[in-house]
């Protein structure tokens, strides 16, 4: 095994920015002109341009989902956001060619050290475009394609166009429509039949400009019997005003394929992180989302799996940490669309201070299916009396022959508990660590080893002095 890597999600590491000099800038605000500008800069064919313009129309017509979601969404001013900023639209394959200021940024984040250690491929996105993308030769030789969204659509439409926008249609929600109109960057990956990518593919997303919206688009297709693990990390410096990150991630696991998608999100506390993630699992395929949300002002993200083929499996494992002023609104969607499909959701949230953690879940077992199973567990931990936690699952089951189970619990670490443990002789720090680790331990164990160590350290750090 490799050394434990340090995916640098420590906020003090991410909290820096460099003066921006952008070669391409779509200006402030959103209109057909903005969309056309992006399409022009990228040299996109008409079908992509039309796709974008249609999406813009859908975005404008769709209301904000404030009938069920946080009213805080109203704080986003779409007219004040910059939708496209780039140094140059081609990602470089050699680290030396990366512009100096961008290089400095990513070197501080530990890229490409990561790559040298164990990654099979890495892509780094700075504002709108990938600035660095490399895939190890061995993986490339196996036929694995790993490229940016626009390049992929232009160069390999035979592979990507078929699934692009199919797992998550433009009109799925207001933010998927927004992404469809202005998407830029992200990773398009194709793994040929039977290929098992040994090491994870990885992407870093970095917002460096104020008032900026990042809209990357990711599509991963794992062909029959293939396996791939993808990891992404997100950071941004602290700005005075709100920043928007609105990605769309589509996964397609063909017959018997396995995709594991790992996210560690540590956006700074002014980022609205509104992401749509969904996978389509064919017969005997497996899609697993591992989702860790630590940063952002408001995160709304409900990774889903549509189990389209028999015996397909879907899984969401998530940890959310809502600190002061943060709202982590996360969950899972499991749609069973074939017999003998199995889904599993395990969600753990910790809310601290004025933080709020919300779980929203959807489990759907429609007509006439047999042997479908879902198991959902969500546990919330509250630290301090001003914290808040909500759980809103919605479960629809039709017919006999299926088993669906949902369980949730809320517990707390209060000053009283800490006092209780101190009264038995533990120090305050020992008491806190024992409690928090007791809560997340069984879940952290499911993360790849190199993440779990880092994650525990990060959580311990966030917890310091939070009770009192």
């Amino acid at each position: 095994m490799n050394d434990t890597t340090t995916l640098d999600i420590d906020r003090s590491v991410g909290d820096f920015s460099y003066p921006e000099v952008h070669q391409f800038d779509a200006g402030i605000g959103l209109s057909a002109d903005t969309v056309n500008y992006i399409a022009d800069v990228k040299g996109e064919p008409d079908w992509i341009r039309e796709f974008r313009l249609k999406a813009l129309d859908v975005f404008e017509k769709k209301p904000m989902p404030t009938n069920w979601a946080s009213k805080d969404l109203e704080a986003i001013n779409f007219d004040k956001i910059r939708y496209y900023l780039a140094h140059g639209q081609k990602a470089t394959r050699s680290w030396d060619e990366v512009p100096e200021d961008v290089k400095r940024t990513f070197e501080r984040l530990g890229i490409p050290e990561q790559e040298r250690k164990f990654l099979a491929g890495v892509e780094a996105q700075f504002d709108s475009e990938a600035v660095y993308s490399n895939i190890k030769k061995a993986v490339g030789d196996q036929g694995v394609i790993f490229m940016g969204s626009t390049d992929a659509l232009i160069e390999r439409p035979d592979i990507f166009r078929k699934w692009f926008g199919k797992v998550i249609p433009t009109g799925d929600n207001k933010f998927s429509a927004l992404n469809s109109a202005v998407f830029s960057g992200g990773s398009f990956i194709y793994v040929p039949p039977g290929v098992k990518v040994k090491h994870p593919l990885q992407a870093y997303f970095r917002i460096n400009a104020e008032n900026f919206g990042q809209f990357e688009r990711t599509l991963i297709i794992a062909d029959e019997g293939s396996e791939v693990v993808y990891m992404e990390g997100c950071t941004a410096p602290k700005f005075e005003t709100a920043t928007l990150h609105s990605a769309v991630v589509e996964l397609v696991a063909m017959k018997g394929a396995k995709i594991q998608y790992i996210t560690v999100q540590n956006w700074s506390a002014n980022v609205f992180n509104l992401v749509t993630k969904r996978g389509l699992a064919h017969e005997d395929a497996e899609i697993k989302w591992i989702d860790c949300n630590i940063g952002s002002r408001l995160t709304m993200k409900y990774p889903g799996v549509v189990m389209k083929g028999k015996r397909a499996r879907g899984e969401v494992i998530s940890i959310a940490l809502a600190s002061d002023g943060q709202h982590q609104d996360t969950g899972a969607k499991m749609v069973h669309a074939a017999d003998d499909t199995t889904s599993n959701v395990v969600s753990k949230s910790i809310s601290v201070g004025t933080g709020r953690a919300t779980y929203r879940g959807l489990v759907h077992v429609p007509k006439h299916l047999k042997g479908c199973k879902n198991n959902t567990e969500c546990d919330a931990l509250m630290i301090n009396s001003t914290a808040r936690t909500d759980t809103y699952p919605a479960i629809t089951v039709r017919g006999t022959g299926n088993a669906v189970q949902h369980e949730a619990s809320v517990s707390q670490i209060s000053a009283e508990q800490i006092f209780y443990m101190q009264q038995r002789g533990l120090t305050e720090a020992q008491a806190m660590s024992l409690s928090v680790n007791g809560f997340v331990n069984d879940l952290v164990r499911q993360f790849p080893m190199e993440y779990s160590v880092e994650l525990k350290r990060l959580i311990d750090m966030e917890m310091e002095g939070s009770v009192g």
Binding site: D379, L381, S409, S411, S414, A415, E416, Q417, F419, Y420, M421, Q422, Q423, R424, G425, L426, T427, E428, Q430, A431, L434, S435, N437, G438, F439, N441, G468
Partner: protein, 256 residues
């Protein structure tokens, strides 16, 4: 000076003074009961001695074997030999009883010394048997989902394992039905001996039928107003707290 000694103690919560000049000595080997009506400050006394941050000690002293503990953090007091059995024991989700007790015992060992796991479990199982607790209990999270009786039994188990010098049992009888009360009382009685001083806080006399105290003190409005032998408890049971309260008011009026 083998005793828990409280000297002219004054305790406030926020602006409000709850304990108003309380003095009491519990020598090792004795069981003292404090009885009093609701709101007399009984629970405040135990929390304040334990070092709960919400309670401010404005004046007075608490000495453990002659040494003041008021400057110590709650965990230091515990390691010095003080044990509180809580009226409402806390639930600690995700932390098993066994791990919790191990951590607490480990914290009492000098740096670099490791708790012997085999001995630990041997001792733990023996104590659990005495308290009629099933083995599966060790894997359950501390107090989580426990009935009132199980929680109180767990308090006594912790006390048995941690072997304090002085124990304050705060309304241990609340939330116990008659069977649970018997088991818990037996547990406490088994721990009585020359090396343990017990301060038993209770509202009802019935606990004292099972754990017979050496002395009974009556607490009203933050002070000990009367002390006596175990028969004082019976008198209270019969006549209620009113007669004592009247007595005090008369005395207070007389001093004006």
């Amino acid at each position: 000076m083998s005793s828990l000694e409280i000297k002219n103690l004054h305790v406030s919560i926020g602006e409000k003074e709850i304990i108003r000049g309380l003095s009491l000595v519990v020598p090792k080997g004795e069981v003292h009961a404090i009885m009093g009506p609701n709101g007399s400050g009984k629970s405040t006394l135990s929390k304040a001695i334990g070092g709960h941050p919400d309670y401010t000690i404005t004046s007075g002293e608490v000495l453990l074997d002659g040494v003041s503990i008021l400057d110590q953090a709650p965990d230091e007091r515990a390691r010095t030999g003080l044990f509180l059995a809580f009226q409402y024991p806390m639930e600690i989700p995700g932390v098993s009883n066994a791990n919790f007790l191990r951590a607490a015992l480990q914290a009492r060992l000098p740096d670099g010394e490791e708790l012997e796991a085999v001995d630990f479990y041997e001792q733990l199982y023996a104590k659990m048997d005495e308290l009629e607790m099933p083995r599966a209990f060790t894997a359950r999270s501390v107090n989580e989902g426990f009935s009132g009786g199980e929680k109180k039994r767990n308090e006594i188990l912790q006390m048995a394992m941690l072997q304090p010098k002085y124990a304050i049992l705060d309304e241990t009888d609340s939330g116990l039905d008659i069977d649970a009360l018997r088991i818990v009382s037996n547990g406490v009685n088994a721990l009585r001996g020359p090396n343990l001083g017990v301060l038993l806080i209770t509202h009802y006399q019935r606990l004292l039928d099972y754990i017979v105290p050496d002395y009974v003190h009556v607490m009203v409005a933050g002070r000990i107003v009367q002390s006596g032998g175990k028969e004082l408890a019976l008198e209270l049971e019969e006549r209620g707290y009113e007669f004592i309260r009247e007595g005090i008011e008369e005395r207070e009026t007389a001093t004006v």
